[in-house]
Structure formats: structure tokens, C-alpha cells
């Protein structure tokens, strides 16, 4: 056997080994998390929330190709849903699961409300309008003091519980978030593979030709905005429950940009990439905390470096969950 032949033969096996290694490390990390100090669990919780946000935004940006810079608005809708329905603010104390449902529905509705006016827009124009939308939502929250508490925010939110089990410690949120992230990831991935997902891809590639083969682009885009916003809003509700405090400061443009960056650096249109992107953008600042103001510089350099060496992202679109599964379980 020539060297080239043996290399070719070894390649699938070694890439399968890599896939297994990644899988094993992920399982080990998940298993180890509950035994870490609370500080680390909190960092991991926030990582999971960002992954959830990334999964949501990726439906619009990655799958459908619409650059949405106002995603944080849906995150805020979810967070304030929890804050208003489970706090002394309005003296409402609904159960957590009910609020999750309310947040999800409100998210879908706001998603469609944003979607309708921007249907005709693409690219830069869409980015500008959605950016404005995100800011409008934040400014409204900041100014409707009687309802949202304005810049002071809403404090003393209820402790969350699901079917009598209290969700209060960071580790409780870790398990909750893990389940929600896996579910959202599964739904997003299966949507991508569905006929609707193919239509999203077609819209991303050539909107006009997509209409030409009979795709109602209005409905397909609104479906993308609605599912994406639903996931963002659920992330917001869980975020509020874990912080037990919300204020407009958490929903700035910077957050939207951070989520977009996560997707772009990780691998646009690929859930696996989002996990990688979130890991870098959320964990690295924590690791670099000692270097104080230098860490932004480090992050900037890293981003430039990544965009030069891996312009399609750390895990490109072509290596999606399907491929990982195939590598892991044969065929």
C-alpha cells in the first residue's frame, strides 16, 4: 500500500476518532459541571444562554440569510415577561412553565411584528432597521417606568420552580438550560433539514428565483423570524429567572452584536459552530479576566486571526450536525 493510499484509508478513521474525542470531552464537561464551584457554574450557565441565543438568531442569519442586528429585543421580551409575571412589580406570581409559554408566544408575535415591516429589506438596509428595532425596544423599556421600573429595572423576581421542584441554584439552571439548549438545537437542526429549511436556504441564495419556484417568501421569512424570536424570548425568560433581576442594561446593542459575532466566528449556519463561537466569546473573557483591559485587545486580535485563517467560521457550514452524527455512528 502506498503512502497516499494508507493516508486515504486512515483519514475517515482518524476523523471519526476526532468526532468521538469531541463528543467524549463534551460529555465529560457536562458530567463535571455540577462539581465545580458556583462561580464556574454561573459562567457555564451564561455560556448556555448565549448558545441558546445563537441557535435562535442563526435561524434568521445563518439559514435564511437575513442580517438581524436587533435580536436582543426578543431576549428582552422574554426577560421582561418573566419579570412582570413573577414579581411584586404587578403582584403577579405565575408558575415558571406558564411564563415560558407566554414568553414563547410573545416572542413569536414580536418576531412577526418586526418581520412584517422588514420583509422587503435585505442586507445592510435590513441590518439598520433591525438595529433600530432593538434600540426602540430597549428605549421603551427604559422609559415606561410605571411598568418596567425604567433604568432601575425590576428586582426581587420569584424563584422559579417546575412542577414543585425549585430551580434556584446555578446548578439547577445548568440542567434546565442544558435540556432547553438540546431541545432548541434539535428543533433548529430538524427545521434546517425540513422542506421549510430548504426554502430558507433558497431565499438566502436567490430570493427572486425562490419565488419563481413557488415559495411564498413572505410566509417562509415570517416563519424564520417567529421561530428565531421564540427561542430568543425563552432564553430571556430563563435569564431573568436565573438573575432574579432585570434592567435595560442587559439588552444593549452590544449584546446583539456579540451574538452575531458568535455566529460568524463559530460558523454561520451551523449549530456546532455556534457552540464553538460562544465558547470562545463567552469563556475567553472570563479566562482573561486577570488581564483586565487587555482582554478586549486579545479578543480583537483573536477575531482578526480567526477571520483570516477560517473565514467560514471555526466549524464551517459544510460540517453540520448531520456530518458529526455520520462520523460518530457510521455510514
Amino acid at each position: 500500500m502506498s503512502v497516499a493510499e494508507s493516508l486515504a484509508a486512515a483519514r475517515p478513521r482518524s476523523s471519526r476518532a476526532v468526532a468521538f474525542l469531541v463528543f467524549a470531552v463534551a460529555i465529560a464537561l457536562i458530567a463535571a459541571t455540577p462539581f465545580l464551584p458556583n462561580y464556574y457554574i454561573r459562567v457555564i450557565d451564561s455560556l448556555l444562554i448565549y448558545i441558546l441565543l445563537g441557535i435562535g438568531l442563526n435561524i434568521v442569519i445563518g439559514y435564511t440569510g437575513l442580517l438581524d442586528l436587533g435580536f436582543v429585543a426578543f431576549y428582552a421580551v422574554g426577560a421582561y415577561s418573566y419579570a412582570l409575571l413573577a414579581s411584586p412589580q404587578l403582584d403577579l406570581h405565575l408558575p415558571f412553565l406558564v411564563i415560558l409559554l407566554v414568553a414563547a408566544s410573545l416572542g413569536a408575535i414580536t418576531g412577526i411584528l418586526l418581520g412584517i415591516p422588514v420583509l422587503r429589506l435585505r442586507g445592510d438596509y435590513l441590518a439598520i432597521v433591525t438595529l433600530g428595532f432593538g434600540e426602540i425596544v430597549r428605549i421603551i423599556i427604559n422609559n415606561v417606568d410605571w411598568l418596567t421600573g425604567g433604568p432601575k429595572g425590576i428586582a426581587r423576581l420569584d424563584k422559579a420552580s417546575i412542577l414543585g421542584i425549585q430551580i434556584a441554584r446555578p446548578v439547577d439552571f445548568f440542567w434546565l438550560l442544558l435540556v432547553v439548549v438540546l431541545l432548541a438545537g434539535l428543533v433548529a437542526w430538524r427545521l434546517e433539514r425540513s422542506i421549510l429549511g430548504k426554502a430558507w436556504a433558497a431565499i438566502r441564495e436567490d430570493q427572486d428565483a425562490a419565488r419563481g419556484i413557488g415559495i411564498n417568501t413572505t410566509n417562509a421569512k415570517l416563519a424564520a423570524f417567529a421561530t428565531s424570536a421564540t427561542i430568543g424570548s425563552i432564553a430571556g425568560a430563563i435569564f431573568a429567572a436565573s438573575q432574579r433581576f432585570v434592567s435595560p442594561e442587559s439588552f444593549t446593542l452590544q449584546e446583539s452584536v456579540l451574538i452575531v459575532l458568535m455566529i460568524v466566528i463559530g460558523g454561520i449556519g451551523n449549530i456546532l459552530g455556534i457552540v464553538a463561537g460562544a465558547a470562545i466569546l463567552i469563556l475567553l473573557p472570563e479566562v482573561l479576566r486577570e488581564f483586565a483591559e487587555w482582554r478586549i485587545l486579545f479578543l480583537g486580535l483573536l477575531m482578526i486571526f480567526l477571520i483570516i485563517v477560517r473565514p467560514a467560521g471555526i466549524v464551517p457550514r459544510s460540517f453540520g450536525p448531520d456530518k458529526l452524527i455520520r462520523r460518530l455512528f457510521g455510514k
Binding site: L196, A199, E205, I213, G214
Partner: protein, 276 residues
Amino acid sequence: MTLVFDRLRKEYGQVVAIDDVTASFAPGLIHGVIGPNGAGKSTLINMTAGSYTVSAGSIALDGKRLDKLKKYQIANSGVARTYQNIRLFDQMTALENLEVCFYPSDVGGTWKEVVWPPYASARRDHRREKCMEILRFFDLQGHADAEAGSLPYGRQRMLEIARALVCNPRLLLLDEPAAGLNHHETADLTAKLAAQRSPDRITIIVEHDMDLVMALCDNIIVMHHGKLLFQGTPAEVQASTDVQLAYLGTANDIDDIRAAAQDRRAQLGIRTRRRS
């Protein structure tokens, strides 16, 4: 029933691109639309497919008005088309380019596809089977998993026609399908287009390649300055003094047309190479 243009008109400000064209196209036949550049051939296709609005008059397919519908509704009424400049979904595979055409019939089952994997794989298998059938017809089965944008130009042309045919359209509109193809590919295309003929389908081809048009079409419409100049069989078109005088004219002129077609092909060829 048929496709009917009734006093169809398209104006761009002062310019009249289509000037009161009335024509009907019977199913089972291949109709050619010829005429010099700027005669309004592509405009006819673009209006029928809903890419351009209609200034006056009407377009009806089997008695149903198309000109009042949105583009996707026209597609869902059984109209499929290809474009003068290829417009595939470049980053999707050849197979996916066809699969997505089942959107109108399958989108209602999206949530079922998401939550119930056996249903999803059954639908997907069903779609893929139909798509592979068409891909095989166009000798593209070996490229099913290749990205459409990475295919050679000739294959892309074929794939675009395959995409138009996958949902078995009632009306097939081809805008210069042979542009940029070499002789061998054009001959192959001619054979494929002849083979896709079915008693229910109206096929309309806008084309500069006179060999292809004369070999393939049952009925030819000659456009001149936005007007319908002549309609007849290939033999009638070639024999018509009207057409000869106005545009096919003398032997010199037919050479001019062939030269123009050659130029156009060269142009498109260069543009494609730059694109890929």
C-alpha cells in the same frame, strides 16, 4: 385549453417593449419565440412568469388570469421557468436545488417533519426519488451531491431546466437555454427538450440558436420591435416573405443572426468562466 396573450402590452415610460401582442399556445407543442435583440422575447417570458408587471392586456393559462397573481402564485399555477443568466441556488447541492421545489406541496407538513423523524424521512425519500428521476434524465445523477455553483456551465444549464421540470409544470418557459453551450451540449439539450414533450405541457423557448429552434419547435412566433410579426411552422417561417423581408431577409441577414447568436454565446461563456 391553452396559454393566451390578449392584446398584451408592456411600456417603459415612452418605450413600448411589447405592442399589443395576441397569441395562443397549445399544449403538447414546443413553441419557439425568435426575433432580433430587443424584440421583446424575454419580456414576454418575464411577464408570463410574473417577473415584470403587465401594462395592459392579459395573460391567461387554461382560462385563469396569471397577470393578476404574485410570482410564487404563478409558479404554483403550474408555470416553471429558466433564466437567461443561470439562477441556481449556488450553495445548495444539485439534489437540494430540485428538492426545494416541493415546498408548495410539502410546507404544510413542516412541523410534522420536525417532531416526527419517520415522517420526515418518508417525505424526504419521496422527494429525493422524484428528483433523482429528473437528474437521471439530464445525466446529472452523478452530481446529485455537488454544490450547484461548482458544476460546469453546461451542467448548470441542464440543472436549471431540471429544476423547472421537477414539479411537472403545465407551462415551461425557457429563456435562451442553449446560450453558452457548445455544439455537443446543444445537440444533447435539443434531444432532452424533445423528450420532455408531453401532451399536457406547453413549452415556450426563446432562443437565438436557429438550428435548435428549427429542429425542435412545432410553432414559431417571430417578434419584431415588440410586435408579433408572424406565427407558423418552421417551414412556413422560413418560406414567409414577410419574415424574410423584415428580418430573416436575405442570406446575409440570416448569417447576421447566426453571428449575433455566436457573439452572445461567447459573451455568456466569458461571464460564466469569470463567475465560477
